[in-house]
């Protein structure tokens, strides 16, 4: 390919060439980082909850008096269990994607010197762990005598199950079973490891810490009431929740049915990621607009060049160049400019990523984003140049013989 004459021609349009290359470079930097941001958000949207969301719903009650809590639990559990199609009803303080009632910092020693991290305590009554559908990968699930009554936020001494990612964070590389940790003066011992159990608010947490949860078995009572986990066949779950609402109005008129909090877990999941979906939409819009503007810029500039070089094109055609040669010329020229832009753009992309890492807690941009971004921009450049280049190829050789 005749690259030398192309370079010579470009040297005569240094400024315009630089501008297009700069535009491509900026587009490349924004494209790579925006795609990376989208990938991060999409990964968040698909976070593994570890629970059988489609089969679960929750009922949140408030407004009852503390002294009625035990009685309320009994009435609600019995009442909801009588709903046709209901597989199980249990009490659980925090709900994945829903109510958050057990976020606290733990330490790995009794003196509170070695900070472990901020985790979510799921305090659940009998049956709640099976209802969630948690998989115990090592150790054991809670047994009957693990469920105890308590006062305050949660049991002050308990045998608990923790998620694998939390175990890996607290005791990397060692067996977590039998290990102890503390919440202020309260003591907990790990007896089981579960696959996954997402926090109620995964959007607010980075990386693996989305999954730092602990299941604490406890008996329902004054301090564990009003938050219920319903399990039914996925086909029935919406209907079961509707029935639960009418049932509650009958059996617990003293309590307030929390409309916002009482939903199926699938709906709660959708709600909790609404902002992230809006952000993905916005980023996709920016990318499309950016590519569009870049392409239009190339079309405009190359059209101008084609018009300017009509005579030269005519001369080249007259002395034997084929249409394909002319087409190739403009395509190669575009390829060179875009390549130059991409090289610059990769540096810019990394600089931008460093900035984002500093201010927005974003991880490092994986290298494979760069070739993908380069391919997109090469493709875009070729597509944009095609129209003007075809017009250039259509210039008849006779133009050469016409004087101006």
């Amino acid at each position: 390919m005749q690259i030398r004459p192309i370079l010579a021609a470009l040297r005569r349009h240094r400024l315009a060439t630089m501008l297009v290359a700069l535009e491509i470079a900026l587009a490349c930097a924004v494209l790579c980082n925006a795609c990376f941001l989208i990938a991060n958000r999409v990964a968040l949207l698909h976070v593994v909850s570890g629970v059988d969301e489609t089969a679960l719903a929750t009922v949140q009650l408030t407004g009852y008096e503390d002294s009625h809590a035990v009685d309320l639990n009994a009435r609600v559990l019995a009442g909801l269990r009588s709903i046709p199609g209901m597989q199980s009803v249990s009490v659980l303080n925090s709900i994945p994607f829903g109510a958050r009632r057990g976020t606290a910092g733990i330490t790995l020693d009794m003196a509170g010197q070695h900070f472990g991290g901020v985790v979510e305590f799921y305090v659940g009554g009998p049956g709640s762990m099976q209802a969630l559908g948690l998989h115990v990968t090592s150790g054991r699930a809670p047994q009957v005598d693990d469920f105890r009554t308590f006062e305050g936020l949660m049991p002050t001494d308990a045998s608990v199950q923790i998620t694998r990612s939390l175990a890996e964070h607290l005791w990397p590389g060692t067996d977590p079973l039998g290990k102890d940790f503390w919440l202020d003066k309260w003591h907990y011992r790990v007896v089981g490891v579960i696959d996954h159990l997402v926090r109620p608010d995964p959007s607010n947490w980075q990386g693996d810490s989305k999954d730092w949860s602990i299941f604490v078995p406890a008996l329902p009572g004054k301090y564990l009431a009003g938050s219920y986990l319903l399990r039914a066949d996925p086909k029935d779950i919406s209907r079961v929740l509707r029935d639960a609402r009418t049932t509650i109005a009958k059996i617990a008129p003293d309590a307030v049915f929390d409309e916002e909090g009482s939903k199926t877990l699938s709906d709660l999941r959708t709600d909790s990621f609404r902002q992230d979906r809006a952000m993905v939409g916005m980023l996709v819009g920016v990318i499309i607009a950016l590519l569009l503007v870049t392409a239009l810029g190339i079309v405009g500039l190359v059209s101008f060049w084609v018009a300017q070089r009509r005579k030269q094109i005519g001369i080249r055609r007259a002395i034997g160049a084929t249409r394909a040669d002319i087409l190739n010329y403009f395509q190669t020229e575009n390829f060179l400019i875009v390549t130059f832009g991409i090289v610059l753009g990769m540096l810019l992309a990394f600089a931008l990523n460093l900035l984002l890492m500093k201010h927005y807690e974003l991880p490092r941009l994986p290298l494979y984003y760069l070739p993908i971004g380069a391919l997109i921009l090469w493709g875009l450049g070729q597509l944009a140049v095609l129209g003007p280049a075809l017009r250039a190829a259509a210039v008849p050789p006779v133009v050469a013989t016409r004087s101006v």
Binding site: L19, G105, V118, L290, V293, L296, G297, F304, L356
Partner: protein
């Protein structure tokens, strides 16, 4: 000359319609996206109490022990006050007005049938709250200092809540059941919604609904009403809200002039020194601070990271659009080298050529501004449909409307500078020869 150049610009722009349309589209998209996000940022960082905000100050003390380590996750305990400190500041009466407050969500049980119990957000405060923030009353009035001391069972309702409960804004003297307590309505305030709700602590949804009720802080404490402010303690407080190791209250003071501000700052330092002498504070008294309302809001950083990121994206996009326009204008202007040379040969100065092309760029900017305005309105419409608490604020005001055109013309003129400069440097002789 201006009219002539304008005429030339319009002729030139209509000659190559596609290129003109491309440039207008590029600047319109860039301006539209940028103005959408600038407007969102503008409404989020606006003055919540125009005319009053310059007199309102937020004091800050540092009661933390020396060895306290701030966790990366939790809020800074010093953003709020302990009960003893707040009460000491109030009792000292060193400011024109001063009030302590905390937010709370309470269950209201309507007396009439047909209305289910519901939760409503409100504020527990001390007597100066209304006068200091300029809350207007439709009926009745706020409570007195004596009511504060006597833990009076009284409440002020917003007009909205009054209408919801009683169907009228005249509910003074009626009784409302909050939680398990009956409170007598002594006033109905006009709906009052400073944006952002600057006086709430940062855990609140500060762009969301306004407070619907106000009741004395002492009464709330007496009735054990829960607060929804951040509660931070650095040693065991055993559920005692009056504990000196638990911060949960906000304190605002009104100061008239710079003299009062300096005096109050000194008072805070003296108070801290006194507490340190008593052994309660461990850190240097100079840690005490006094923030003006707007600088306090700046510190709170109410604009979410996502919004800031979107603003940068939009501005980056505008930059790409501008580079695009520079390239297109360069092509366009240099294409007319012949025309420029004729004008130069006939006696036009370089500065005339520069002005001519500058005006042409500005015309493109104006057209782009109109398109940008339409796109920004579309953008704001989509922002209003976002599930965020600030969404409903996304409206353009006059300053943003003017700002759109200023930004559009500025961007296009800036983009036109380099091409216009190149065009006016064209050597006439060389061009004329080839004509």
């Amino acid at each position: 000359m201006f009219g002539y150049y304008l005429d030339l610009a319009l002729r030139s722009l209509t000659r190559s319609k596609v290129l003109t349309a491309l440039m207008v589209l590029a600047i319109g998209l860039g301006i539209g996206a940028s103005m959408t996000m600038i407007t969102v940022l503008h409404v989020m960082s606006g003055d919540p109490l125009p005319g009053r905000s310059n007199q309102l100050y937020y004091p800050q003390l540092d009661p933390l022990p020396l060895k306290y380590q701030q966790s990366a996750y939790g809020p800074d305990p010093r953003l709020n006050f302990t009960w003893p400190d707040a009460m000491a500041l109030l009792a000292a009466h060193r400011a024109e007005r001063q009030a302590a407050m905390a937010g709370g969500a309470l269950l209201v049980r309507p007396a009439q049938t047909g209305l289910r119990p519901f939760y409503v957000d409100g504020r527990y405060a001390t007597t100066d709250f209304f006068a200091m923030f300029g809350v207007t009353f439709l009926r009745g009035q706020g409570w007195s200092g004596a009511d504060d001391d006597g833990r009076a069972r009284v409440v002020v309702l917003s007009e909205k809540l009054s209408r919801k409960l009683f169907g009228t804004n005249d509910s003074v003297g009626r009784t409302v059941r909050f939680g398990d307590a009956d409170l007598r309505v002594i006033g109905v305030s006009a709906d009052w919604q400073p944006q952002p709700m600057f006086y709430a602590d940062a855990s609140a949804k500060v762009f969301d609904d306004a407070d619907q009720f106000f009741l004395p802080l002492s009464t709330a404490l007496d009735l054990k009403f829960d607060t929804n402010s951040n509660q931070s303690s650095w040693s065991s407080f055993e559920g005692d809200m009056k504990s000196p190791v638990l911060t949960w209250l906000q304190v605002w003071v009104q100061l008239k002039d710079a003299g009062q501000v300096a005096a109050y700052r000194q008072f805070l330092i003296d108070y801290s020194a006194q507490q340190k002498a008593l052994g309660r504070f461990e850190r240097p008294p100079t840690q005490a601070r006094l923030y003006g309302l707007m600088s306090w809001l700046d510190r709170q950083n109410l604009v979410p990271a996502d919004v800031r990121l979107q603003l940068w994206l939009a501005l980056g996009f505008l930059l790409v659009c501008m580079i695009n326009i520079v390239a297109l204008l360069l092509a366009k202007f240099l294409r007319r080298s012949g025309e420029v040379s004729v004008r130069r040969a006939l006696g036009a100065r370089r500065r005339d050529i520069f002005l001519q092309f500058g005006i042409e760029s500005a015309v493109i900017g104006l057209a782009g501004g109109v398109l940008g305005l339409v796109i920004a309105q579309l953008g704001l419409w989509s922002v209003r449909h976002r599930p965020d608490d600030y969404a409903h604020l996304a409206q353009m005001d006059v300053s943003m409307l003017i700002g759109t055109f200023v930004l559009a013309v500025l961007a296009s003129v800036l983009a036109g500078l380099l091409p216009a400069w190149r065009a006016c440097r064209v050597a006439p002789a060389l061009q004329l020869k080839t004509l």
